[in-house]
Symmetry: C2
Subunit: 258 residues, 2 copies
DNA sequence: CACGAGCGTATCGGCGCCCAATACTTGGGT
DNA sequence: ACCCAAGTATTGGGCGCCGATACGCTCGTG
């Protein structure tokens, strides 16, 4: 039972091939979310057409896939039910909802709760403010930990060795031209977050956007997520933005920490 | 290939038992989202402990389940990735996002996009306004079509026989004491929606809340979802609320219809 | 302290579910 | 009319899954 990249390794004999393949099929739509034919699914997942057919029919019958107008298969609405169950089951989400609402009201800017998940970070709650660009603000979006303000705030709470390990396993490709991808610059931001109590990032994930975040800790003082405040560079100078919102984010994150 | 309750029936020989059981395990958390032991999972899904173990290990390895502190299994963050893919793949969601943002700004109240799914209706996008009660406002929440304003707006676009069929298949249990569950009262609201172009409901899903909604139609004039505006009865009289927001919801829904 | 009831974990023989190749049917493009 | 690629359906065979069983552990309990 060893740990590899944050995922528990499993004895082969306890591993269900067909379940894993079904998950492969669903995950195939992460690359390109357009409808796919059985042949495309088979090619994308490395299984043959017969297996794709069986898996497709099964997921279709359960609502996790749907027929597109074109006749192909696309993701189904039933997936929303499962993520709803997840959100509802997570005590942090429940505690965070009213706190974030209040923060959103105070700040007047977009407010997010992200969940720390090793080399990436997922947005679980997103409270919009103004006009935003479609899917960049959907819940469920993943951002590499190393370039997210929330991710850096989480790394700041970890031991040096753990941060080094995480960064070594990260795929450090930039999302924008301003993404900091070099180890020294990332470490600099992590150290800054340790002294300031929060981290910030300007245009590293989305052009024109400045974000700051403070980490939420569990009972063992380990980071489990972060509270973000995001604003537009067309409305804010970075020093003003930091001065104004960092105390609010830190306060909210502390309220959520066990 | 017959249709039953909106789900396509599948040849038994194309149906993967272990995949279906894995989905059963995930769906078991819909009833009560707390962490479960293997024994509880086995009992809830009707499979034995060995199968639950294998499925659990597989879903755990893929991140769709996680270990709770107690040692039990709970839903995993990976579920959010799949719902993100779904939202991203749905063209309606993409078109609706800016329209709803604008509507939210104009109305100043909570705005939702729901997806029509036979006897129930799912909230896909939720733009909050003020303080709200936790999971009632999470995306992915399902409401019975017959008592949701958006669901009734959708039914108003269907043939009489189809509405009768849908209502006959519905589980018409109330969500609140004010939920209308009788067929005549529901039909009355459907007819009202046909003449008014929108539907409304007061405290039928949530106490203290009034909602109105207009249906979004696809290229064949069939309902695929609805645009909602929701307000608090502590701030609005129902006639004022209807007069003020119904034109906005109708306009937004028309803009989203193909 | 012994005990048993849970838990998660691990093992194993055997059967039946899933495998993959194949053929059929349909529809769209040339 | 042709062909290619799509989804659909069928089949025999093999091995992957099935489920009973057993092990070690941590509880709360008598």
């Amino acid at each position: 039972m060893t740990k590899t990249a944050g995922v528990t390794a499993v004895d082969e004999r306890l591993f269900l091939q067909s379940v894993a393949r079904a998950l492969d099929v669903l995950e195939a739509f992460a690359q390109s979310p357009r409808p796919k034919s059985l042949g495309e699914i088979a090619a994308a997942t490395g299984i043959n057409k017969s297996a794709a057919q069986r898996i497709g029919q099964t997921l279709l019958a359960r609502g996790y896939l749907e027929r597109a107008d074109s006749g192909g298969l696309m993701l189904g609405r039933r997936l929303l039910d499962r993520s709803f169950d997840y959100l509802r089951s997570n005590p942090l989400i429940e505690r965070a909802t009213p706190v974030l609402m209040e923060l959103r009201k105070l700040a007047g800017e977009r407010v997010d709760l992200s969940l720390f998940d090793d080399t990436s970070t997922i947005y679980a709650i997103r409270l919009q403010s103004k006009r935003e660009t479609f899917y960049a603000t959907l819940p469920g979006r993943r951002i590499p930990t190393f370039l997210s303000s929330g991710g850096r705030a989480c790394m700041a709470q970890m031991a040096d060795a753990a941060v080094d390990d995480l960064l070594a396993r990260s795929d450090r490709r930039p999302l924008t031209p301003k993404s900091r991808t070099g180890l020294p610059e990332i470490w600099e931001k992590v150290r800054e977050a340790r002294t300031e109590g929060y981290s910030w990032a300007a245009e590293e994930a989305l052009i024109g956007e400045v974000v700051l975040a403070a980490a939420v800790l569990d009972g063992d003082r380990r980071p489990i997520g972060a509270v973000h405040v995001a604003g537009s560079l067309s409305e804010w100078a970075i020093p003003d933005f930091r001065r104004r919102f960092s105390p609010l984010a830190i306060e909210a994150a502390r309220a959520l920490s066990t």
